[in-house]
């Protein structure tokens, strides 16, 4: 039974006892059975109130920064130094009083978290302004993040954590790949929230974390001029996301599984793309695992993700989660095909073309197998998301093949009508079957 329903029952018990629907003894047994004493009777704060309170905190924090940005030339340097510490000390006092002597409500923690987030940056900035130091922006962001990271795990303020994820993502995109570690240090927070089944909060944290992580990966490994095998990197990372998400995210709800869903979408999408000769050729032209001499951090990050994906594959094999090993086969197949094609690329054109054709056929076959597997799983487990995942993969594969290859408009039109009808009718049939 969810916390929400247990809390409802706990609130209803006194009324049921009063109306003599339930005896006191039975009510106590129910309380013990559902561990109702562990649940606070404090009214949960509505999301609207939390958002308004934190906007208020942000406005206060932003206002303080703007006031100090006015730069009071008339105040001497020692006084300006004192003023630099004032917002920080106030924010710290609010944070500490939010925890001790007793833990205060959600709004207090959220507002104090946001204020502390702004105050740490403000104090360092004001000191830089006082001494005319432009400073090292990378150092400023690094210290800002590190001084707030432990607070995330102590006060567990949701909005502050979201701001810190954005800050970590900003650092990882703009500075070196090593700043991905900043994002990774916030992953345990999401794991803890996910385990507590906090619903909306954990989902928000998860989706924001995954988005920041993927955008960082795009900028660091795909859009950069670094000549690495970006396909291999992206496949490794999405395998890590998919397999890690399968361990962490226990819910069946689609929106509560950002890591699993993102990993699955990228792996499935790449599977379809690689089934085309041209894409496979251009991907396999850059098979450079390490260029350690010039880009150490990116090479180390790439190798780490590849190794982690193998560790996760080994783990799931060990615990016999064979169902989860189907989709990551694309990584294994790509490595095998990629390196075979890379080997034959220095051979004759004929051998290279044959190798490419065989490679893309194998990948197309794998796509069909995986799609069929997910359709089968979806029907067997009554899971609409798995069923539709398989259907979308097949439909996308067929559609793209029809777009690329030279079919007549009539043929394409008929094919799309058939596919669309199949998609709708299978879903309707599945829903009726689940309902019955």
């Amino acid at each position: 039974m969810s916390k929400k329903h247990i809390k409802w029952l706990k609130d209803e018990l006194p009324k049921l006892i009063e109306k003599q629907v339930l005896s006191t003894e039975n009510a106590e047994k129910l309380q013990q059975h559902y561990a109702m004493n562990d649940i606070s009777s404090e009214q949960p704060l509505s999301l609207f109130t939390i958002i308004l309170a934190t906007i208020g905190g942000l406005l206060i924090g932003g206002g303080v920064i703007l006031i100090f940005a006015y730069n009071w030339d008339n105040i001497d340097r020692p006084m300006r130094t004192v003023l630099a510490f004032t917002p920080l000390i106030i924010a710290q006092a609010l944070t500490v009083t939010g925890l001790y002597p007793r833990r205060r409500g959600t709004a207090w923690r959220e507002v104090s978290g946001v204020l502390l987030f702004c105050a740490v940056a403000a104090s360092i900035s004001i000191i830089g302004q006082t001494y005319h130091i432009s400073g090292d922006f990378q150092g400023f962001i690094t210290w800002w993040f590190l001084l707030l990271l432990p607070i995330v795990y102590i006060i567990r303020a949701h909005l502050m954590t979201m701001l810190l994820i954005i800050l970590a993502g900003f650092a990882a995109i703009n500075f070196t790949a090593i700043y991905l570690l900043f994002l990774l240090t916030l992953l345990p927070y999401y794991i803890q929230e996910s385990n507590k089944n906090h619903g909306l909060k954990s989902a928000q944290t998860g989706w924001l974390w995954v988005s920041a992580f993927l955008v960082t990966v795009l900028f660091q490994f795909i859009f950069s001029s670094y000549q690495i095998d970006s396909t291999l990197t992206l496949l490794s990372i999405s395998t890590c996301l998919y397999l890690t998400g399968s361990i962490i995210e226990k819910s069946n709800a689609f929106w509560k599984r950002p890591m699993t869903i993102s990993g699955a979408i990228i792996l499935g999408g790449y599977l379809i793309l690689l089934s085309f000769n041209d894409v496979l050729r251009s991907s396999t032209q850059v098979i450079n695992l390490f260029i350690l001499e010039t880009y150490e951090e990116k090479a180390i990050a790439q190798l780490s993700f590849l190794l982690l994906s193998f560790v996760l594959l080994a783990y799931h094999t060990y615990v016999r989660n064979f169902k989860l090993l189907v989709l990551p086969c694309v990584l294994i197949l790509y490595i095998l095909i990629g390196y075979v094609i890379a080997y034959t690329s220095s051979s004759t054109d004929f051998e290279n073309t044959v190798a490419l054709t065989i490679g893309s056929l194998l990948i197309t076959l794998l796509t069909l197998i995986i799609s069929g597997w997910y359709i089968f799983l979806g029907i067997k487990e009554g899971s609409a998301s798995k069923l539709n995942y398989g259907l979308i993969m097949i439909v996308s594969l067929v559609m793209f093949k029809f777009f690329i290859d030279d079919f007549s408009l009539i043929t394409r039109g008929i094919a799309f009508i058939v596919l669309g009808s199949a998609l709708i009718s299978i879903n309707v049939w599945h829903n009726r079957r689940s309902a019955s």
Partner: protein, 202 residues
């Protein structure tokens, strides 16, 4: 355990900015004074307010080391003073020099350096801003532009714009901006009183 970690973090949040204050104050109190010629522009930093960007005159230095240096990497330049108190840079090193005063600078490659001397490189300074009150920053920039215009017409009457910087253990902190021998605030005050007098005369 949580209390201990929280206490430690709160103390660190105060120590880090406090250490910065100590470092800069120490440099301002005990650092050696050098003059740097500048030509400012006036932009805005949303974190720290209105400032005057100090575009220092280009400095090239010798590098005789064997290690490769990347563009933007921090290195150390040893420096002396000329008869006017202006900083004169000699050479850059990848490690802190053991003798003499030195300044931490940015390596900017050898773009624009022509001729056969391939051991000279450009350097940039870390202190490149002068923060001022919003209304004053624009006046400072205008005051400097006026002097730059004058220099184009008549070099003798133009005033040199310079920054007085304290340097200690590689750290440079701007103490004040000067136009000629007047601080920027004295110069603006003088200019304002001259304008007021002229208005009364009219």
């Amino acid at each position: 355990m949580k209390k201990i970690i929280l206490s430690f973090v709160i103390i660190m949040q105060i120590i880090v900015p406090a250490f910065l204050v100590y470092k800069y104050e120490n440099t301002l109190k005990h650092g050696e004074v050098y003059r740097f010629n500048v030509s400012p522009i006036d932009p805005y930093d949303p974190f720290r307010g209105r400032y005057v960007y100090l575009d220092f005159e280009l400095v090239t230095v010798q590098y005789n080391g064997e290690k490769d240096i990347k563009y933007g990497q921090f290195v150390y330049a040893n420096l002396d003073k000329d008869e006017n108190g202006h900083a004169v840079f000699n050479e850059i090193f990848t490690e802190k020099p053991k003798v003499g005063n030195y300044l931490k600078v940015k390596f900017l490659g050898n773009y624009g350096i022509f001729g056969e001397d391939d051991t000279r490189y450009n350097i940039g300074f870390i202190f490149d801003r002068y923060y001022s009150q919003e209304s004053k920053a624009l006046k400072i920039e205008n005051a400097v532009s006026d002097n730059r215009g004058q220099r184009g017409v008549d070099n003798e009457s133009a005033e040199t714009v310079s920054a007085r910087v304290r340097i200690k253990d590689g750290l440079g902190v701007i103490e004040e901006l000067y136009i000629g021998e007047l601080t920027i605030h004295e110069y603006l005050a003088q200019k304002e009183s001259l304008n007021t007098t002229q208005d009364h005369t009219k």
